[in-house]
Amino acid sequence: MLVSVKALSKLVDLNGLDGEKIANGLTFAGIEVEEVKRIASGTNLIIGEVLECENHPDSDHLHVLKVNLGDKYGVEQIVCGAPNARKGLKVIVARVGAKLPEVEIKKGVIRGVESNGMCCSLLELGVESKYLREEQTKGIEELPKDAPVGEENVLGYLGLDDEILNLKVLANRSDLLSLYNVALEVGAIFNREVKELEAPAIINGESDIKVGSNTYRCSQFSIKEIRDIKVKESPEWMKQFLMSMGVRSINNIVDIGNYVMLMTGQPLHMYDADLLPKKELIARDDLTLDFVALDEKTYKVIPGDIVISSDAKAMCLGGVMGSLECAVTEKTKNIYIEAASFDAKSVRHTSQRLGLASESSMRFVKGTNHFRSKFVLEYTANLIKDLCEGKVFGDVKEYQSEEERDLIVESSTERINKRLGTSFSEKEIIDVLERLHFKVEDKGNGKFIAHVPSFRLDVTCDADLSEEVIRVLGFEHVKSILPNLDLTVGALSEEQKKERLVREQLLSLGLDECLTYSLVSDKENECYSLVNKDEPYVILNPLTDDHKVFRRNIANSLLSVASYNVSRQNKNLGLFEISNIMTKNKQEKHLCIVLVGNRLDQGLMKQERYDFYDMKGYLESVMTILGIENSRYKLERAKENLDELHPGRSADIIAQGQKIGVFGELHPNKLKEYDLGKTSALVLEMDLNALFNLKVGLIKAKPYSRFPNVTRDLALVLDKSVEARDVIKTIKTIGKGLVRDAEIFDLYEGGNIGDNMKSLAVTITFGSDERTLSDKEVNDLEEKIKFELNKAYRAFLRM
């Protein structure tokens, strides 16, 4: 809402207050002023008269003017390029030294001719072009013949010495979409007198229009008929008022409609009385028809839209837009003026569906005063009488389905102070409420009843009263004291703790923690659906197709992050993200890790391609810190997404018989798709909730042997398909209690090993809790292990 300080000053005493002060007062009373700006500005301005106008000797469009600036400054020579510069014209002159919004005027020589100042257009003073006639934008401003030469208060003379406040009206204060209500508010905040709006009823004729409403969506509908009006240009004061409030002047009748709406907050609509099919205007919501609106476009009207009908034809879409059929034009003589109350929801639906939003519809959507239409129509009539020479005025015909009720709120000094943490006196509280136009009945003992003014749609309970009090008296009165609450164990839940542990662990291991959008495209949602394959949530009203589906996996998002980084030469990446995942039947918490390029072991001096076992390492590290022993989960060769993962280098993570995650190398085809270059990339995704839900016991420290261990190394040659974990398992099984550990320490393929064969080097640790093992014991056991490995896997020792 734009508010002209000049217009405001006609309603409320602003003595000693400028735009900044008012803005500050409003802002700290909860009505934020986003900007204070001048409608026009300029220093060193003066009104002058062109005495001589000669063509510039060295130009085909410049003129050399002699301009009389009055007694004080005499006559100056000014070079001017305006096509309308001519002898006898009264002009605005910016003298040397003048600061205009865009330029500073300096003494100059223009193509050899001295120039001491500039003749200005209003554009050059900062007035927006939308408020100007075309000819005003093409040349210098032409002042009236009687403009006083030598007048230095040029902006004042033009009525442009105004400041404009841009109010951010919050949803609960739709009453402030009215200049008069802003004046009331300013009056309350600064404790200043506010003038009453006066509108004596003008009735000198009969009106036989029939009004009514067939729907709850229009609770009140009033019409005033005025005859014999003259449509013409508005007077200057009206044009200036509208300009300062951000509205363009059209003609007197349209301008009056806008003026009344801006002043009172009540939107009006006007009908050409001679163009109605029948002398009736009835609100209804049951029509289906094609509606040709003022903008000459056709709109589909459906049941639920509020239609103002005459003889079952649509004359207006209530609160949204009038019809072309009965629009007021320059030929209009007789009019019906409508002031009605429309249901916010209906107006919102209609205006949203049809893409028609206006100052009127916005006011209905936010809420209007349902009991003021008679006053508003008479206020309008007074203006029409003055500006449009209206002659015959009917009485207001009104349909009203509601009864005006006095809204009262009971409260007390104690209750208000208790909510605010303040110690205001009863007098202070009541004074504020009365300044805000509440009528307050004192009930004794600090108790009172407040009657809410009818324009304040937002005040319904005593919490609301407390807000009124504090926003006027100021939050600096609130004592800042921490609440005295019972002690509690402020702590993260088990799950939250585990999530943090995992994040801190992965960060410590050098991975970067990422954040990506949950909304993805359809196509993206299909990519790397590694863990969750459930039906996703799809947005009904997406902004773009890129953000349409609530993702069910993170992998694609993180691979896209990798792709972004690789394209910027950040080629070696270790990334992870943890995010909540919701699909129609599942609520999960996913961890995703992406590794791309090389693991930098010593900067670039020592680097090695990330491989399957790097990812396996991150997985095991997470499992270990969560206390999930390796007997509680297992890896199986991945069975799904084999066109996205390398089929031979990927694994499902299985816990309690369920697949809870997947990891592996990207399929070579996908490396290309994500533009990751000729490198390696790995991805892991798993559901952490499944992990967090596994019960983990406390650690019980076990005694360890006092006796030394013995180690033996075996280099085994066996079939490539034999997995290391089976070999280890066999060794441990055979070694029973005496094999403490068996670990792979080398893998060799190729050379003289033979195709389809590999060599595994195992180091076996033997030991006992009771004694030092003898060589013989160890040798026997080793022989037995070799024998069994040969039997089970046809493994033999490498020579």
Partner: protein, 345 residues
């Protein structure tokens, strides 16, 4: 055999030891002067033929010389070893400016740095951390927060809908309602960090996805002063002890009175600068006293209980704190950005 011969041997040995350059030479010297075949040892073997008196005297002398030589040798060995070690160490000098072997932590998106820190501040004040669904029922997101169908405030938060009753939550406030439902009339002290979604076009300051931390305290005799003190504490911990806060009246449907909270500008300390647009203050969060209707709808008697609530924008706090100029940077994850945030204190 005489004393002078002994002295001669001794001097000769000492001389050679002195001139020795390495341990090999020393081994040889030891051989020449102290082995069984050495002159000294052969002199020793002649002792038996001497008279007792002389034998004793000469024996002592020979031993003396032997000890002298042996000690000198040991000392020299030690010296040379030192010298040789010194040389080895000199050879082993490395370039200490070469890269370290990877022990670095990863970079934490500053979004998480700030989120974790805010959580920790409130954990310290005894708050619980609650979670809530991002795909939420209209009922919790709007209805129970005093935002009925067609309330004008629904215009303020244009939402992503899944169907008529289900949407992506537009704020973390539905967790207020869910918590009140769960706590069923008992006092509440919670925060809820989480992702939220609104139909905003992405630009430097708007994002269709962003995150908030909701706070809610419900108990007997809670007033705005408690909210003010709590947020003051938060602001000082987050932005520095010198920061002051100021409350400005505002409007949210689920709080009454509602406030916007401004903090003195960290850049200019409240004097006014570009960052705070000359006001000396920067808006950081919103809050207020829980609306009596919200308490009532969620099973708390507003005549007995009162409460305060607030919502902090995580990205906004992070942007202010680290001077980040574009909210999209949090969601782009350029590692050159992430790597700036490795510091854990």
């Amino acid at each position: 055999m005489d004393i002078s011969k002994l002295n001669e041997i001794k001097e000769k040995a000492i001389e050679r030891i002195k001139d020795a350059k390495n341990s090999d030479e020393l081994v040889e010297i030891r051989n020449v002067f102290l082995s069984k075949k050495s002159e000294l040892m052969s002199m020793m073997s002649t002792l038996g033929q001497m008279e007792a008196e002389l034998r004793k005297e000469m024996g002592q002398k020979i031993n003396e010389v032997k000890m002298n030589i042996s000690n000198a040798l040991d000392k020299k060995v030690q010296e040379i070893k030192e010298l040789e070690l010194q040389k080895t160490l000199e050879k082993e000098v490395i370039d200490i400016s070469l890269p370290a072997k990877g022990k670095e932590s990863g970079g934490k998106n500053p979004f998480f740095v700030v989120r974790d820190e805010i959580i920790d501040i409130f954990l310290g004040m005894g708050y619980e951390v609650m979670d809530g669904p991002e795909v939420e029922l209209d009922h919790y997101n709007f209805e129970l927060l005093n935002i009925p169908q067609d309330h004008p405030a629904r215009d303020m938060q244009d939402s992503f809908y899944i169907n008529e009753n289900v949407l992506l939550r537009t704020h973390t406030s539905p967790v207020q309602a869910r918590t009140m439902e769960k706590k069923a009339g008992k006092p509440i002290r919670i925060i809820c960090p989480g992702k939220t979604y609104r139909r905003d076009d992405d630009d430097a300051t708007h994002s269709h996805q962003f995150a908030q931390i909701e706070g809610l305290v419900v108990d007997k005799d809670i007033n705005i002063g408690h909210l003010k003190a709590t947020l003051e504490l938060f602001a000082k911990k987050m932005f520095g002890e010198k920061r002051e806060i100021r409350l400005r009246p505002s409007y949210f449907p689920f709080t009454e009175p509602s406030v916007e909270v401004d903090i003195t500008c960290a850049n200019c300390g409240g004097k006014g600068c570009n960052i705070c647009k000359g006001t000396g203050y920067i808006e950081i969060l919103g809050g207020g006293m829980v609306h009596p209707n919200v308490l009532k709808m969620n099973g708390y008697d507003p005549e007995v209980y009162s409460g305060f609530a607030f919502g902090i924008g995580i990205e906004r706090v992070a942007m202010l704190r680290y001077g980040i100029d574009d909210i999209r940077k949090f969601y782009t994850d350029d590692v050159r950005f992430l790597h700036q945030f490795k510091k854990k204190i």
